[in-house]
């Protein structure tokens, strides 16, 4: 095995090995556990850095293991996988810091961090998958690894949430499985290829391909929380804050959205899919989800449920951008994969801080909280404005590209969806900001003392500041080399046949 293919396995191992070791760490050995966690996260960052450098130098990274006749386990690194790998390893690093701070002194931490690492392993596996079969394997692993995190608290409510979560995700996985087996038996090995492995195959029945597309998207749509397959997401909000952050920004919903991108671009090929006529229904489903999620978010008083519905809405921008057959919208959809991740994880970190430091769970208790937690709320404000699409924050860039892309592709109605959604985003985020900054403090939390010389534990404060800064930077310097936008452009160029 050459160094290039070994690197891909090492990237997986850098979270798998610490994860398995952590299961055996005694509950009291906090230092050992944290060391393992941080070591794994740092090594992964370095390895991913090496990978990106290698790809930049023009090397190819691919590893194959034979699994079944004409079916290989393929790991490879292309521009799209690098985007997702980079995002998940950076966000894993900050979330690990946050989780260590958040779960200080709570029980069953070894179990938590063990599954946490397995979850990241599965996500990175999804990112590096080189064909649909490999993708499916890691997709199902992700379901299994996140279940223990959702039910972590062990209360009746969280166990129920776990059951709902499994019912949705396993059923989705089953649909995906049928789709993959069907497609494999028709079209042979399904290695992801830019512009699509199926495009140009004239020997396949278009109706069958439409059915398979429906199965695949339905299977992926469960995790991507496309309405009406989104029911698990608000329920699983009972999980601890770092889990919500990870589930909503990086792992689960992103795995679904990423899968949709892969299926549309690298399996069917965007132009071929448009010819089949399957893109319009997908765009409509995404548009409905965007508006529905925002409307539901309006009426939530709980902060985390509001963010959950906001996630449902925001993730579908990725599907929407993907479903508009035009290079500019593609850029918007793909870049939102990163931008939404950064903004949403910031919001969840901040919500966790409010709950952990002051015991605030509801929007109506947030009056004047900006005075007490100015840095946290500053990060929250940046992310919330970004979600609304205020320039120069990253969210604006995504919306701009999706909007102009839709116009370029002659789909003006998308603009209406974007405007409606942005207005709704403002309607549910701005009141929060108004309460936090301009209303006088009320509520019991005023008597609580700050736990450290910062406004909250530094491990809880640093992560949202970093991610908010990144969200701002990716918007401000969107045109510079190394930003998510330039990367997304690179991907979009490959996906459209010259």
């Amino acid at each position: 095995m050459s160094w290039n293919s070994a690197l891909l396995f090492l990237i997986l191992a850098s979270s798998l090995v610490p994860g398995v070791m952590i299961f055996f760490v005694k509950e009291e050995s906090t230092a050992l556990r944290s060391t393992l966690n941080m070591l794994g996260a740092s090594v992964k960052l370095l390895l991913v850095g090496a990978l990106i450098w290698g790809v930049y130098q023009g090397q190819t990274f691919e590893a194959r293991l034979s699994l079944l006749p004409q079916m290989d386990l393929v790991l490879h690194a292309d521009a799209l996988s690098l985007l997702f790998v980079g995002l998940s390893s950076v966000l894993w690093f900050v979330t690990t810091i946050y989780a260590i701070g958040y779960l200080e002194n709570s029980p069953k931490r070894s179990r938590f961090f063990g599954f946490f690492s397995l979850c990241v392993t599965a996500t990175v596996g999804i990112a590096l998958s080189g064909n649909l079969i490999t993708f499916l394997i890691f997709y199902e692993l992700l379901t299994l690894a996140t279940y223990p995190l959702v039910v972590h608290r062990g209360t009746k409510e969280s166990l129920r949430a776990g059951r709902v979560y499994l019912a949705y995700t396993l059923a989705g996985g089953a649909l995906l499985l049928i789709g993959v087996v069907w497609l494999k038996s028709l079209a042979g090995p399904l290695d992801f290829t830019a512009t699509g492995v199926l495009s140009g195959r004239t020997d396949l029945d278009p109706d069958t391909l439409r059915w398979i597309f429906l199965l695949l998207i339905a299977g992926l749509g469960v995790k991507a929380a496309l309405v009406p397959l989104h029911g698990w997401l608000p329920v699983s909000m009972v999980a601890p804050a770092p889990v919500s952050a990870l589930l909503h920004a990086v792992a689960v919903v992103k795995a679904g959205a990423f899968g949709i991108v892969r299926v549309v671009y690298d399996v069917y090929g965007v132009e071929f899919a448009a010819d089949l006529g399957v893109m319009m229904p997908l765009a409509i489903a995404a548009a409905i989800t965007i508006v529905y999620g925002s409307v539901r978010a309006l009426s939530q008083d709980g902060l985390k449920p509001r963010l959950a519905y906001s996630t449902i809405s925001q993730v579908s921008y990725i599907a929407l951008g993907t479903a508009i057959a035009g290079p500019i919208a593609t850029i918007g959809g793909i870049v939102h994969l990163v931008h939404q991740g950064l903004m949403k994880i910031t919001l969840f970190f901040c919500a966790g801080n409010l709950a952990e430091t002051l015991g605030i769970h509801r929007v109506s208790d947030m009056n004047g909280v900006g005075r007490r937690l100015p840095k946290t709320m500053a990060a929250f404000t940046v992310a919330a404005l970004g979600m609304i699409g205020v320039p120069p924050i990253a969210g604006f860039v995504s919306k701009w590209y999706i909007g102009t892309g839709a116009l370029a592709a002659g789909q003006g109605w998308v603009l209406g969806v974007l405007v409606t959604s942005s207005a709704l985003n403002a309607a549910y985020f701005l009141p929060i900001l108004y309460r936090a900054w301009f209303k006088p403090p009320t509520g019991e939390w005023q008597e609580r003392l700050a736990p450290s010389r910062f406004e909250t534990h530094w491990m809880l404060l640093a992560p949202p500041l970093v991610t908010a800064a990144l969200a701002l930077a990716f918007g401000l310097f969107a045109n510079m080399d190394g930003s998510a936008l330039t990367w997304a452009r690179l991907i979009a160029e490959r996906e459209y046949a010259p």
């Binding site: 699994l67 969280s158 499985l177």
Partner: protein, 485 residues
Amino acid sequence: MTPLWSALCVVAPLLAAVTQCIKPRWGAATSIAALSLIVLGGLGLASALIESGAQTIVLSGWSPPLGIVWRIDGLTVTMILMAGIVGLPVSVYAHHYFSSSTTANRFFWPLWMLLLAALCSLFLSNDLFNWYVTLELLSLSAVALVTLAGKPAALAAAQRYLYASLLGSLCYLMGVALIYSTYGSLDMTLLRAATEPNTSVWVAIGLMMAGLLMKSAMFPLHFWLPSAHGAAPAPVSAILSALVVKGAFYILLRIWFDLVPEAPPHSVTLLLGAFGAAAILWGSLQALRATRLKMLVAYSTVAQLGYLALFFPLSATGELGQTAIGGIVYFMAAHACAKAAMFLAAGNLQRAAGHDQLSALASTAQALPLSMFAFAIAGVSIMGLPPSGGFVAKWMLLSAAIMNGAWLWVAVLILGGLLSAAYVFRVLALSFVDPGPPAEQEAPKRVARSSEWASLMLAGMALLLGLNAMPMLELMSVGLPAIRP
């Protein structure tokens, strides 16, 4: 070398059984030695097969129809290896499980070795009467093993098992007699060349299959299984679910390959498939309703055996048939590892808690994370999720069904997987339930470390089967006779 390797698989457990009758204290050691020799023999046979294809051994120089022939192909070797590899951890486990009660300990080892000898010679045999003999031996030793639990419930279950088993044998024997009276031979190779589609052959096959379906607990003839597998001591449950039922199904497969003279009518395969589907649904629903952990696992066996019956509608000639056969054999191997792991883990929980009522197991489950981990990994294979042997098997069966355009069976396969997830997670959720204040709970009893690792080993095996299926599939397909068009 082939005669030596194959003889080893039968002689080693027999010798061990004799030794154990003389020296009961050597039970575990001799059993483990015998099992290691079986694994060695299986590996030896495997390498011989890969070098020179399927082999026949004429016992003591008398060729059929007078003498007896052993025929060794990929399926034989896979099954022998499965028995040996599953048997080893189970024996390690049994060593601790039975150490306290001396009577059970004394009888367990020789019976287990006898069962193993019968099973290995069953896999090696290639004639209908030899199968009858080995099947009888297998069933009798299995029934005796169930009684070792010593409780009235176990005795009643064992009795039921005995009657069902005898009835099955009788049915099978009648079919064998019919074939013998028509063709004057019992050797499968000769019969394959001789049988033609006529009434007496079909009646004989019908009788034999009915008997074997009874013995392999195929719905609706499964009624004896849950109580027997649920009441037996944990290592015995593992042996029964993982290996014994597979013995009968193995003969069923052979009959389907060699004896069935032409593609059977569609209605027959549909009926058999429908039984399988019913088993999957019924078994899973009962597992969902079970209040005891071991009953849940036993009903899961009923459900999983239903998948085996899906072989009949999916079996076909050509490449498609190869996929279905590969899927089924892989399923048997993966299920053997996973189910044995589940029963051993369940046994650990039962040992530690003193009972196996699901509603009161939470604190015990959390005191035994390794066993629960084993149960979880085995559960992944049972659900057919990747990466596991169960997934590979399900993948192949699904491929066969989809290529056939058999959407009914696709639905059954998928639904079965989801239902199994529902009952497996009933158990796994125990690990996460907040068990309440520790003062109210009785502290769980200690369970030997090796018992926990034994279950984890088996679960790991089920997982490994999912990582690289190619060598196994290649081994399986050596010399496998094609289904007749």
